[in-house]
């Protein structure tokens, strides 16, 4: 079971985030569900690089021969976390301007695709 759980957890997070986005009634709620989808990709990337009974890839206390997890995956996820927050901020600014123009944030009332 544990050999499948991280992949299923990543798929679950992406699926539940997309479900929340499709059936959302408020655009700010939609941006929150987008952050859940992004967190699914972080879990997937870090689970790929994981090795049992290995330490973090920091060799300050022990020499560089000790078993350690994959550092390349952590490098990918680290920049992704901070930049994802900036993209969420941009989407929130878009939602704010939309509310100022149309006075509502309900996709049903705004009808982007009639």
């Amino acid at each position: 079971m544990l050999r499948l759980l991280p992949w299923l957890a990543a798929a679950w997070l992406m699926a539940i985030g997309i479900y929340g986005m499709v059936t959302s009634r408020h655009y700010v709620h939609l941006i929150g569900c987008l952050s859940v989808v992004q967190s699914g990709t972080y879990v997937l990337l870090l689970a790929i690089g994981f090795v049992w009974h290995a330490g973090p890839p920091i060799f300050y206390d022990h020499p560089p021969g000790t078993p350690a997890v994959d550092p390349v995956m952590q490098a990918l996820v680290l920049t992704d976390v901070v930049v994802g927050a900036a993209v969420s901020a941009l989407l929130l600014a878009l939602a704010l301007q939309l509310h100022k123009r149309r006075n509502t944030l309900d996709p049903e009332e705004l009808e982007p695709l009639p």
């Binding site: 499948l4 059936t23 997890v69 550092p71 900036a86 600014a93």
Partner: protein, 255 residues
């Protein structure tokens, strides 16, 4: 439920039910969790600490081995913050007052003294800790990205503890924009420096120093500080733009 919303629910649930067996099949074919030694990762772990005198291999990868990726991510961040500033243009500086927006029936609690005292203790500690994390990027877990986010949330603590007026006095928008621009330009200049010395872009040509010292790693500490400045300035800019939107506009046409 209206017709459109019911159709969306039905289509979404149908799509997820159809895709669920595909997800389980992919999960069955993925390599076993934690059993497979990563090939590239173990090579990097074995060689980079000796080549770059940096004990934090993740920071060495971000700022040295895959430095061009970090440059790209840095500019994605700058572009997102620029887009945000363009979208929320107007209502800044002297046009917006210091009072929060008045909403009928909403009670604005006064600032509690316990919160103000706690934040006056926590704020210098947070700033000092984030500078420590930035400086020790190549030694222990840390680096420019983490320290920039921590410093931006330390500025936010100032807003929570002492109110909007004193927060605006400490973070003038011009200084924050200059910080972000200098950080982004610093990243590019750190990349151009090896070109002036005859090597490739972002190649680590400065003297490597000793392992476990603050100046180890050559180009890594410089790149670290540039990225930290840019991230701090960017998040502080975003917070200034957002918090200005919550202030009462002075004229009626200023929306």
């Amino acid at each position: 439920m209206k017709y459109g919303l019911a159709l969306r629910y039905a289509l979404c649930i149908l799509a997820l039910i159809v895709l669920a067996p595909a997800a389980v099949l992919v999960a069955l074919h993925m390599p076993a969790f934690g059993e497979q030694l990563p090939a590239y990762g173990t090579t990097v772990n074995a060689h980079v600490p000796y080549m770059r005198q940096a004990t934090n291999v993740v920071t060495a990868i971000i700022f040295d081995v895959r430095g061009v990726d970090t440059l790209g991510e840095e500019f994605i961040f700058v572009a997102a913050i620029t887009g945000l500033a363009v979208l929320l243009r107007g209502g800044r500086g002297e046009d917006a007052s210091r009072k929060p927006i008045h909403v009928d029936g909403r009670w604005l609690p006064t600032r509690s003294e316990a919160v103000a005292l706690l934040i006056r203790w926590m704020l210098p500690a947070t700033v000092a800790f984030s500078i420590y994390v930035m400086a020790h990027g190549q030694l222990t877990p840390g680096g420019g990205f983490q320290a920039g986010a921590m410093l931006a949330s330390a500025l936010l603590l100032l807003f929570l503890g002492d109110g909007y007026r004193s927060w605006r006095q400490v973070t003038p928008p011009v200084v924050m924009q200059a910080l972000e621009a200098l950080g982004a330009a610093g990243c590019v200049c750190v990349g151009l420096l090896p070109l002036a010395l005859g090597a490739g872009f972002l190649e680590n040509v400065l003297p490597q120093g000793q392992s476990k010292s603050l100046t180890g790693g050559g180009l890594i500490p410089l790149f670290n500080v540039a990225v930290g400045m840019a991230i701090t300035g960017g998040f502080a800019n975003a917070l200034v733009e957002f918090l200005e939107e919550t202030r009462e506009p002075e004229e009626e046409g200023q929306r």
